[in-house]
Structure formats: structure tokens, C-alpha cells
């Protein structure tokens, strides 16, 4: 599946929620290891008897779809990973997973594909054996491949009634000219419709990206690091290292504001979406400052929510997006306008809010509160092995070094009022802005 809106929020909330603490924010006992073939493994023991969460993090997503006409393929490939092997044909794998009561699924986004399972400790060896086999020996015939292509079209269809899906399509396409972020993870419809013809290409994709240097095996729950590393090595040790590096073209700096409009066929209230080109995850200081801005200026306590939602009531959906990405992406907000005559007004209010942030004085108390909030929301995310695994897996997909999580939180703790001003000045700048509006199609005048 594509990453859901819920998961987007969860990833944002969990990973971003830095705490102001000197000690590591990872649960005690977390360990990581790099194997000779380039595979990484991370083990995090928790005191949740019997339950184990497994996530296999692949550093491949729609960002890696460099060839024209292949948008959406990383997500399609995620589906193919459930199509079986010689040792585990579909019916055998299904029976094994069913009898073990496993919760199993996967998601794909711009920078990553994550395969996740939750199960009982007694089934760990069996499940790792199955996982290792499909990552190394996947096998499917062309007819099954063509059938799975239809299921992906079904996924596009189920999303297509939602205006914001279409808005992100146009936002990314408008804001990017060269970089693969110009298409969404779902991909362009025209490309999805051509998936059935791509059987040969799918094996090329598997060879390129499903190699140990792209992978991290993460285990959280009732597991002991040493024994778990042993099992991972036993199952994945023979996996051959690859050497493919995709040629992802950097996006040249945007030099002027851009915009786009969608005329929507069915009844809808209008939407306004604004995105600004923002720094990549590797720019930790910039990323941390943006996360603080999101919480300060675009949460329910921020001035924009107060004005547009609570006081004037011209907006009823308020969805900021400040996602962590490998390369420069977009940060901004999508809002639904309750009065169709107020689109221009709302658009200008939102735009002005972003572009005036650089001049705002942030007090020490405000900074302290935002950091407190981040700390407590982080703690609230650590309540089950699956939740911890989701949070950590997302971080590892951006930087496979386990210590990077603490570095990120340290960056959050260090954010100062000057940093906020500096980042706002460079990011929330008309030159890097893209605005998309969506309105219900106007009736043709009757002749």
C-alpha cells in the first residue's frame, strides 16, 4: 500500500518529536550491526512478553524511479514481493503466516519501502526464514505479474475520489522539473496503466534495489540482540551485495513562485495547498528548525489555525505537511475552504503567514513549550513494539545509522530563535513557493 495519511502523521509525529535530553532517546539495550554484505540489523529489546515486531527497511522508493514512464514502480514492486518463491509459493507462505497469526503488510513512500510484521516470539525463526527467502529468491510468472498490476490500478482508483491526492500530484509535478520528486509514490496514471507490460523491467528493478546494501532488518520486542543478530546472519548472510546507484538528478534552485489549478468534476469545497522548497534530512539543523516551526506556527495553537479555523471559520480542514525527505522536498499546508468565495483570501492569508515567519520574535517560553511537547509526544509513541518499530524504521530509512536518531533529537534541542528566523527566511520565500488550488468545475453557461 501507499503510505497512508495516518502513517504520514505518525511518522512525522514520532520521528520529529525530539526531546531535550543528554542521554540516548532510544530504549535501553538497542544495538545495531553491519554485516560483511552491507546488510544492517537493529535490535531493540522491550519488556513486552512474547510480542515481536519485524520491519525490513529498504532504502528505495519513488525517488529512485529515474526512468521516464516508470513512475510508481517502487510501490508496484512492493506488491510483487508478496507473490512467492520456489520454497514459499503463495499458498505455502499464506498458510504459514496464517497459522502463526501474523499481522503483515508493507508501505512505500518517496524514499523508502518498509515491510512490517508483528507476531509471537515462538515464530521468529520461521518468519525470518520466509523473509530472507523472498528478498533473495523472489519468483513470479508473467500472468501473476499482470494481475498484480490491476490491483495497483485498483489502489489508484480507491484513492482517486480524494481531492488532496490529486493536489499532491499537481503540486509535485509543478514544483519539480528534474528531480524524481516530480511524481508521487503512486505514480502517473498513464504509467500505472502500462505496468502490465513491464514484466522484464520488474526483474531489473529487483536486481538493482533488492540487495543487502539497501536493506536494514529491524527487530523490536521480546528479542535478545546477540541471538537475533545470529539469526539474521544465518538467514541473510548469503545475500549478494549489488552495486547499482541510481542517477537521481538534483533539482536546480527554484527562482520564481509557481502555481497550478485543478477543476474538480464532482461537488467539493475548494482546497488550497501551499508548499515551499525545504532542506533535506541530511541538513539536520535546517530540518530541526522546520519541525519546530511546524509545531509553533501550524499546530492548533498557532495563530493561523486560531484565525482561519476558530475565529473566522473560513477553513475546516487544516493539514500541515513538514515531512522528512532525503532530498530537498516541499513543506507547507493543505486547507479546505468553507466558503467558495474566500479562496483568494485564504490563499493570501496562508501565504502571508508563511512569509512573515522570518520576522517573528519567538520567546524562550515558546521554545521551551514546543520542545516539551515534542518530548512528551515522543514518549507517547513508545507504547508497543509495533509503534516503536514504525518510528525507528522511518528514521533508519533516511539514515541507516542508529545513532542518527539521537543526533536528530540533539539538533531539535539546539534550535534557537535565531535559527528559526534564518530558516524561515531561506525557506518561506516566494521564490521557492508553489500554490495549488482546487475548485469544483464551473457549470458551462447554458446557450
Amino acid at each position: 500500500m501507499l503510505i497512508s495519511r495516518f502513517l504520514k502523521l505518525a511518522c512525522a509525529a514520532l520521528v520529529l518529536s525530539g526531546a531535550v535530553a543528554a542521554q540516548s532517546l532510544l530504549p535501553p539495550g538497542a544495538e545495531s550491526k553491519v554485516f560483511p554484505n552491507g546488510l544492517r540489523a537493529v535490535v531493540i529489546p522491550t519488556d513486552t512478553p512474547d510480542v515481536v515486531a519485524l520491519q525490513i527497511v529498504m532504502s528505495v522508493g519513488s525517488r529512485h524511479e529515474v526512468e521516464k514512464g516508470k513512475s510508481g514502480f517502487a510501490h508496484f514492486f512492493e506488491h510483487l514481493m508478496f507473490r512467492g518463491t520456489d520454497r514459499y509459493p503463495n499458498d505455502v507462505a499464506d498458510a504459514m503466516l496464517k497459522n502463526a497469526g501474523v499481522d503483515s503488510n508493507a508501505w512505500t513512500w518517496d524514499d523508502q519501502t518498509v515491510y512490517h510484521k508483528v507476531f509471537l516470539k515462538e515464530d521468529l525463526a520461521k518468519i525470518l526464514d520466509y523473509e530472507a527467502d523472498r528478498f533473495q529468491n523472489l519468483k513470479y510468472a508473467e500472468p501473476e505479474f499482470r494481475t498484480e498490476a490491476l490491483a495497483v490500478l485498483g489502489e489508484y482508483n480507491k484513492n482517486s475520489a480524494n481531492p488532496t491526492e490529486k493536489m499532491f500530484e499537481l503540486l509535485q509535478d509543478t514544483a519539480f522539473d528534474v528531480h524524481t520528486y516530480e511524481h508521487t509514490t503512486m505514480g502517473f496514471l498513464a504509467d500505472i496503466e502500462k505496468f502490465p507490460e513491464g514484466y522484464e523491467y520488474s526483474w531489473q528493478f529487483y536486481d538493482r534495489f533488492y540487495s543487502p546494501e539497501y536493506a536494514t532488518v529491524l527487530l523490536v520486542g521480546d528479542v535478545k540482540p546477540e541471538a537475533a543478530f545470529g539469526l539474521v546472519e544465518q538467514e541473510f548472510g548469503e545475500w549478494k551485495r549489488g552495486d547499482y546507484v541510481p542517477d537521481i538528478k538534483p533539482e536546480p534552485p527554484q527562482t520564481a513562485p509557481r502555481e497550478g489549478h485543478i477543476s474538480w468534476d464532482s461537488p467539493t469545497l475548494p482546497w488550497v495547498m501551499i508548499g515551499y522548497k525545504s532542506p533535506p534530512y541530511s541538513d539536520l539543523a535546517g530540518t530541526a528548525a522546520l519541525q519546530v516551526w511546524e509545531s509553533l506556527a501550524f499546530s492548533k495553537t498557532g495563530p493561523l489555525y486560531k484565525k482561519l479555523v476558530l475565529e473566522e471559520q473560513v477553513v475546516d480542514e487544516f493539514q500541515p505537511f513538514f515531512w522528512l525527505k532525503k532530498d530537498p522536498f516541499l513543506s507547507g499546508i493543505a486547507v479546505r475552504v468553507t466558503d467558495p468565495t474566500k479562496v483568494a483570501y485564504v490563499r493570501d492569508e496562508v501565504r502571508k503567514t508563511f512569509e512573515s515567519l522570518a520576522g517573528q520574535q519567538i520567546s524562550a517560553k515558546q521554545l521551551e513549550e514546543v520542545k516539551s511537547r515534542m518530548r512528551y509526544s515522543y514518549l507517547q509513541g513508545l507504547t508497543s513494539p509495533a509503534q516503536i518499530a514504525s518510528s525507528v524504521a522511518f528514521s533508519l530509512s533516511l539514515d541507516p545509522d542508529l545513532k542518527s536518531i539521537d543526533r536528530y533529537y540533539e539538533a531539535i534541542a539546539k534550535v534557537s530563535a535565531e535559527d528559526l528566523s534564518k530558516v524561515a527566511k531561506s525557506v518561506f520565500n516566494p521564490k521557492g513557493r508553489t500554490i495549488i488550488t482546487l475548485e469544483q468545475k464551473k457549470e458551462e453557461p447554458k446557450k
Binding site: S4, F6, S17, T48, D50, D94, L97, K98, N99, A100, G101, V102, D103, S104, N105, V118, F119, D123, E142, P143, E144, R146, T147, A149, A151, L153, G154, E155, N157, K158, S160, A161, N162, P163, P196, S266, P267, T268, L269, S299, K300, T301, K306, L310, E311, Q313, R336, T338, S372, R373, M374, R375, Y376, S377, L379, Q380, T383, S384, A386, Q387
Partner: protein, 500 residues
Amino acid sequence: MSISSSISRAGLALLLAAGFTSPLVAQELLTQPGSSPLVNLSLQFKTGAAHDPKGAEGSAALVAAMLNEGSTQKHSYDELLGLFYPWAVEVGATVDKEVVTFIATVHRDHLDAFTELFVEMMSEPKFAKADFDRLRDKAKNFLTQDLRSNNDEELGKEALYLEVYPKSHPYSHHNRGSLAGLAALDEGKLQGFYQEQFTASNFTLGVAGGYPEGYPEKLRDRLASSLSKGSSQVKAIEITRPARPDGRRVTIVEKDTRSVAMSLGFPIEVNRSHPDWTALNLVRSFLGEHRSSNSYLYQRLREARGLNYGDYSYIEYFPNGMFLMQPDPYYPRSEQIFQIWIRPVQPETAVFTLRATLFELEKLVEHGLTQEQFEATRNFLSKNAPLLVASSERRLGYAMDSKFYGVGPYVEKLRKELDALTLDQVNGVIRRHLQAKNIEIVLISKEAEKLREALRKGVPSPMTYNSPKPEEITTEDKVIANFPLNLGEVLVVPVNQMFR
């Protein structure tokens, strides 16, 4: 887990003898102590959309919103948000037919300060005009935008419930209300509903996690003394079981959309307290475990044929299925329906898919499960059950639901009953509760008249694929293509007629 009631049986008998007739429910307490620094709260009132007065549909949900997203006598909503902000706390509300539940998770660092505000929100709501306008618009937009316009799958599921329950039934409108009901409400009416329904004698409090000793009892007593005492005029509502539809009844909701979403179902007598629940739950899981590729319908419709993204079945209300991997607690109902959810299909395969679904349901009713299917599904449910309650928040929610139904702890009960179950019992339960003859069918589609004609004429719907299929599938497809639909009424409803 411990359950206690703040009014003893003897005390209750005295009250009854004194002519205190209603409501009969006292405050109850459910506690699940744990070592986490987090404390989970769950305050449940035995009221909900089923209690909405006629012509004022949406009252329960809007009162809930006024409590958790509105101002109090002492603080504006904006001020409350500001106070909660550094603690990363939010008070959530879930509204269903028979219960309204407020939930929050708070670090024990802020438990005392939070508790003050929580009690204030529950017992001193302001019912301010500005909050009312904002929240009523939000409810209206939920119905017209989020359901009618933006989410064909949820629209189909909710439309199915509206078709199953006749207009006279307390379940016959959406939990958020109807557009006419919302239009007829004002702050005063809401306040009246609040004082009658969200009362000191009508709640269950659940507390889990690392709370200090005595905290749950203190909070219960504070709520009991600060909430409205209610009125003795409140009548209990009667929730009857609707008749199954006469034949296979189709409603096509017409809107401009790429694909066709489907939901099918009928009322069942089984809820979580029924002796057949565990067996019927096993059948549900076999036929269509939620979001799992490992169940029968999914494998026949998506895996083998690529018709859509997924196909699942349910025996309990399960909103927001497209955003959730596991069922959320706090939707307990006296009355439930059996339901099949077919995710959107390409319009040209819609009739075939509907036939295939009815064909599979008929086959299930006729043949039941095999020993192997029974055992695999039993193993799945038994091992998967602890994963449903892997956090203290969910554990508390499931315990609150068990309490509503008057049954034991979810995991223990399920596992014990699964262990004792036999294939014969399961197949007997299928024959007793499931059938494919009298069923409501909802389709969300463009060009509704065209679809209606195809359905009414029952013209064959042969399938073609983009790749060769095994003989087993092509042979079965021929049977499905000519499967007699035997439809009764086929109605077309424009989408803007929904939720009025």
C-alpha cells in the same frame, strides 16, 4: 482488571423503591494498573446517536464535540489547547449509537493539572455560539464532503447501514447526524441533551497505566459530583432487530467517480455477548480478515483475478477501515450486521464482481469451511488476539467493550472459546446466521441508469483478463458470468440525497 460500582446493589434497590426509575445505570469503574509513566483515561457515557431526538439527529455527536473541542465556563477552547500544548495531550471523542467515549493519554508529570481541566471540560461546557457554529459546520462538511465527495468506500459502507435500518429505527441515521437534524439544532437544544444524557449516573470510567493509588476512585467521585444529575424523564430506547430485506435489494448511489465501490450486508442476531460470536468471528476472519491478504475473498477476487485492491468481511461496525489495520474499540452495539466490503472496481467489471461476491457467499453458506480452513483460521485468531491489545490504550478499550457486552476479557475469552470450537459447530453457525438470498447491496457508481439496466436484465458478464488464467479460474468465471442475480428492487439515489 477490576470492576466496581459506586452504588451498591442494596443502595440501588433503595433508590428504585423510592421511585427513582431512570436512568438505572450507575457510575462504574474499570482499572488496569501498569508500570508505564503514561496514564490512559476513558470516560464512557451510555448515550449516543441512537438517543438523538427525532428531528435533532446529530445531537450526541455535536454535544461530544462541544465537550472535547469547545470552550468551558472558565477557558476558551483556544486557551485549553494552549494549556495542553506542552504536555502533548488531546482529549479524543468517539461517538457511536449507544456509547460516547472520551479518551486521553497523559504523562503522570501532568496528571493532576490535566485532571482538573478534564473534569472542567466534561462538567462545565460553555455551549458558546462560536464553538457551535464551527462544530456544526464541521459535522455538516463531514457528511457532504468527507463522505459524499471524498471517500466512496466509506460512503458505501455508511449508505449500507442506512439501507439496513428502517427510518423508524434508532440506528437509522449516521453517527454524525443528518443535514436536516444538524440544521434544526442550536446551543440550547444541545445543552438540554447534554444535561439529560451525559449524567452522573450514566458513565463508566476506565483508567490504565501508571496512575497513583486511589486516583481512579477520586476521579470517578469528582465526575459523579460535578456532572448533571439528569432527569427522571429520560426514557430508555428500544433497539429492535430490523427484518432482513426482501430478496437482494440494490441501491446505486450515483456520483461522478472513476470506479465502483460496493458494500453488501444484512442484520444478524449475533453481537459479542452471543454464544455464537466466536464461531461467527472465525467465519468472518476466514472469508475476509480486515486488510489481510490471507483470507478467502481477497484471494479469489484480488489475488487470482486482480479485480481490485481488497475484499473483506465484518460482523461488527468498523468505521475508517481504509485508514486502520486493526479494529478500534468503543463501537459496541446491541445490534450488528454481517457485511462484505468490496473495494472499488473498474466499472466494466462491476457486475461480474458483484456476481462473484454473491457466488462466493452462497458457496460458503452451502459448503461451510473445510477442516484445514477451520484450523488455520483458528490458529490465526488465537495467535493474533494478543496483537490487538499490544498497547495499554488498546487493552483498556477492549476491556471497556467487554464490559459493555458483559463478557470476560477479550483475549482470554476468545482463546478459550476457540480451543473448544469444532468444525461442525462453525458450519452450524454459518447455516444459522448467514445467507445470500436476503441482502442489501450498495454500489457507488457513475452512469447509474446504465448499471441499473444491466443488473435488472441480468445480462451475462463474461470476464476477460490481461493475461492467461488457470483453467480452474476460467471455468469458474463462466459459471459466475451467468450466475443468476435474482435481484429485487434496484434503486438509484443521487449522491446529494444522502444523509439529508
